[in-house]
Amino acid sequence: MDLSAYPLELPKGDCPMVRFMNVTKSYGSLVVLDNLNLDIQRGEMVSVIGPSGSGKTTVLRMLMTLETINGGVIYIDGKPLTHMARGGRLVPADEAHLRRMRASIGMCFQHFNLFPHMTALQNCMEGPVQVLGLSKAEARARAEELLAMVGMIEKKDQHPSRLSGGQQQRVAIARALAMRPRIMLFDEVTSALDPEVIGEVTEVIRKLVAEHDLTMLMVTHQMGFARDISDRICFFYKGKIEEQAAPEQFFTNPQKERTQQFLRAVKDAD
């Protein structure tokens, strides 16, 4: 792959928070993402929607560096994430570079993935103490503040096995926020939840959008929610962005045939 066409850094000033530049991802011969170009601005909330298998989760996992990419470069705040500058050229990032860079990214998963051997509070203190090197007292104060924000302070000493799915997901959001990320990724965080508790998780995300200047990328099947809170909707189809627009425009006046089909299909399912 020729990396010389990619800048070592994006010009300061108005560079986006996240830039996917010609990013390709494949598993063997299966091309999952094909030459993806996507910018996300500082503080922007972008919702990713699309049929199952269209590559939505993969976009998030590449950004979290859980997956390596096969082509292109991802930049975070103007600096290469998947690569690093060495001797005036970009080379694939090493483990240390990835760990440093991904510290500014937090992720919430469909199945929460809380640590079962720790209480809610300990879950939220683990990263700050072990990774950021905060004192126990500082980490506890930060964790309690966040648990209060997600409405889970009363349950802070419970283990995940004692919490409902909605409660676990709220703790997982607090755990990710405790690392003070600048970018938050949500991968279908309400898909594994019973319908009656979905609201308590979406409320938390609404609050984040309203009160924080986080940059957020959210994969969701909840069209109404996405329409309410997003600055932009990205519709993925077979590993490509088929259409993207501001929510009003996207939902009231979709341009592409495939988008219209997809929106009709989800409406019928409701």
């Binding site: 993935n113 640590f115 051997h117 072990q130 283990h159 004692r162």
Partner: protein
């Protein structure tokens, strides 16, 4: 029977003490070896992986008795001589550790992928991820098979009598040789091994399983 116990009880008791000491020390060796080799098998670094594989293959693929004789009789020819007591628990421990290594590896791999990913997303270093997130959960998974292995280990210690470590089996053989009361001598040994396994090791492992389950907030 009663007069037999009165005469030989104290010696059998001493033998049982030696057996218990062999058991405890061999168990420590087995735990350390199993952890090192189990982690080694999962290492990204091929020489470490190779070393762990060679250890596991050798100690699982050959008989414990032969290993014991090697460590006690052959190693001295290479300038490493160990007293019989140390040679005894070391052989048994290393042998059982090789089986334990596969349990450790299996348990680590059985920790859900989401746990690896969540700790990765928190930027935890691989060492911290293993120590703080993966191993505590793997430990809970490995305890039940590990309990069986500990019983095997106890039985395995009987072989150290063959290099004259004065354990329970050794004492029983001595008494048998001196009195020809085989039924009583080996009967008593049988009973003591059973009691150690059934009333000490098994309940201790069960207890440990309960404590670990509680730590996961499950109990």
């Amino acid at each position: 029977m009663w007069d037999f116990l009165q005469t030989y009880g104290p010696r059998l008791f001493d033998g049982a003490l030696v057996t218990s000491a062999q058991f405890v020390l061999a168990a420590l060796v087995a735990c350390a070896a199993a952890l090192a080799a189990g982690l080694g098998r999962l290492s990204a670094f091929w020489p470490v992986r190779g070393l762990a594989t060679v250890y596991i293959e050798i100690f699982r693929g050959t008989s414990l008795l032969v290993q014991l004789y090697w460590i006690f009789f052959v190693l001295p020819l290479f300038g490493v001589s160990l007293p019989k007591f140390e040679a005894g628990f070391l052989s048994v421990g290393l042998n059982v550790g090789a089986y334990g290594a596969e349990i450790v590896r299996g348990a680590i791999q059985a920790v859900p992928k989401g746990q690896w990913e969540a700790s990765y997303a928190l930027s935890m270093s691989p060492a911290k991820r293993m120590r703080r997130i993966i191993l505590p959960q793997a430990l809970v998974l490995m305890l039940p098979p590990w309990g069986n292995l500990m019983i095997e280990l106890l039985k395995g210690t009987a072989l150290v009598a063959l290099i004259s470590v004065p354990d329970l089996m050794f004492v029983a053989k001595q008494i048998n040789g001196a009195t020809f009361r085989s039924a009583e001598a080996f009967g008593a040994a049988l009973l003591i091994y059973y009691i150690l396994a059934r009333f000490l090791i098994t309940p201790a492992m069960r207890r440990l399983e309960r404590v670990m389950a509680r730590r996961l907030g499950r109990a």
